[in-house]
Symmetry: D3
Subunit: 135 residues, 6 copies
């Protein structure tokens, strides 16, 4: 009797898509205006899904207050109002595409969770583009 509990959070960040080992032309050809050297930014909307058994005593899979706080410490404090390329070490050598950001967030959250819980994440980069990842 597995139930999934989901919690929404968000953070605002600047980024650019750019490979240092490519020419500007290559970056422009692949990433287009997303490679703008002056950066652009997004309101990232994050949904964290935790799947597990309902605790028969509390009626909770996981206390959402704890999950909310975990997302704040592991993700928001690290990425909110930040420049992902310049200030978040995980992206010093990794391009902050939505795909790479979601894997980084997964790897930040997974070790902090009850090992019996499954983790899945959805990340909206814009209201029309989003990514999902389950490890």
């Amino acid at each position: 009797m597995k139930v999934t509990v989901s919690r929404k959070a968000h953070f605002n960040a600047a980024h650019r898509l750019y490979r240092k080992d490519w020419s500007d032309e290559q970056n422009q050809a692949v990433y287009g205006k997303c490679s703008n050297p002056h950066y652009h930014g997004h309101n990232y909307e994050l949904i964290v899904h935790i799947t597990g058994d309902i605790d028969p005593e509390t009626g909770y899979v996981m206390d959402m207050k704890i999950l909310k706080n975990l997302i704040k410490i592991e993700v928001e404090d690290k990425m909110d109002h930040k420049n992902l390329n310049e200030e978040v070490p995980e992206f010093f050598d990794k391009i902050p595409t939505a795909e790479n950001i979601i894997v980084v967030i997964y790897d930040l959250l997974k070790p902090k969770l009850d090992p019996s819980h499954e983790l899945s994440i959805t990340l909206y980069e814009t209201p029309r583009n989003y990514v999902s990842y389950s490890g």
Copy 2:
């Protein structure tokens, strides 16, 4: 060639999270302001997902008018504008967390459906907290 059809509905209800066999301190420690003895409430948003084969004659997996009516009879009439703890028998001995509510809704709807159909449910307690269950 399985297709899932989904139908949204909603109901407004009061509830509190509270175990009678716990002290007020224990309830407060686990449920925080959700254990307020005077209750609080939510606009619950419910999404019912039915997966099955497309009927080659009608082009439907299931007539959404029938599903809409089933949700009305089994869920809305029972829970809308109600106090879950005081008025919905399923919660007389079960804490109305979102996790427990979704299992109750699943158990209300499943026996009314074509046995060849799979049922899955999503229940928003607030725009930021929701749960999902597939039996």
Copy 3:
């Protein structure tokens, strides 16, 4: 050059619509299922609009962090996870219809604002029903 800044907040509360000086039949006739003696509840979504001149030094009409905090202290701390009829003194003698709630919120916020600022409020009781008030 007046600009309006708007900030969304929310609170979850229980309420019932009921006049003590009316018979149950009268209450039922006017308020229907909203008069349920066991209460029901909503996720209230609140939008506070402040209109004023842009401060030429800061570029702000009003610092949204201050407005966010003001809404928390004056509205959320008072109404969130509460039973409006039983726990919020303003409704001990006033029926907590959305119309009356919005006037109460307006009267709580207005004295705390810069007198040169105009205040307007929108309050969603459900995603389909909402009220607006400008004093």
Copy 4:
């Protein structure tokens, strides 16, 4: 390390649900007001989900600009501002229920995608009714 990338699009179309080999009474009994001979219409909201490995060089599963363009050519140009029954050949002999439309869209997009990518589609017919399909 599979990630799903999702892209929203939309198109507006007219349709009616009607079987030529049924009497008007039968059509009315099954499809109700959806069988109106003068048609009615919807703002269809389409979400296309592509699951695959992250390209270690680009950080993309698939370039969303390419996916956006593919949806435009294969779906929007074909169905936007059209009468599905009268102008989209796939529905000359198939009833344009949401279930049938989503299978048609799947069959239009699948051959154009990298064979290593999985395709899944969500189609909203109204904000309250939607369908999903994964082949």
Copy 5:
């Protein structure tokens, strides 16, 4: 102490934008794909705003159940699942642009309201295009 109460509703309809006294080229030049002779359609989202004094006895500006029912009778029953050009007499001689539709809806609702109430309407033709009218 005027408060505005707002109620959302919706209807799905087919339409085309087309003047009989213009050539097809003129219609195409002005209305583009909206002039498609086979029609297209929308999920129209309607918001009706009523401004008036709070009744000190009920705490209501207007009973939302009455407003909901009025919208159903005057607008939904007339336009939902209909072809506006072919089936709604108000558009036999008037082009069903969003602007003209909203004036027709205003004129249908206004005479049914308390004369002391002000009426304002918002009509979404798509999630990105909408119109507003206050008489």
Copy 6:
């Protein structure tokens, strides 16, 4: 018989709130994390409202295709995927608060419109913070 037509658009941009003539401490005190020297960013959602008479011939206040194109040329091409502080000349000497951005957008659009039309703008910086301006 004035009707307002509204059109939604969006752009993604980086910015920081910072006055060169203030110390870092002053900037931090007023703008907090919004003054991060490495920038952060937003998905700005823009709604442009045009109020005017319905053209009796076309049934339009203004052709939404023209308005959509005007927003693209005057706003999106200038601000989308840009760093507002570094790349948009209007903000070289003006702090890109939402309040200042909306006035800049107003001043860009107003001269391009029919002088008989009134212009009003709404700009969402995040789903919870937005500003409105009518000149």
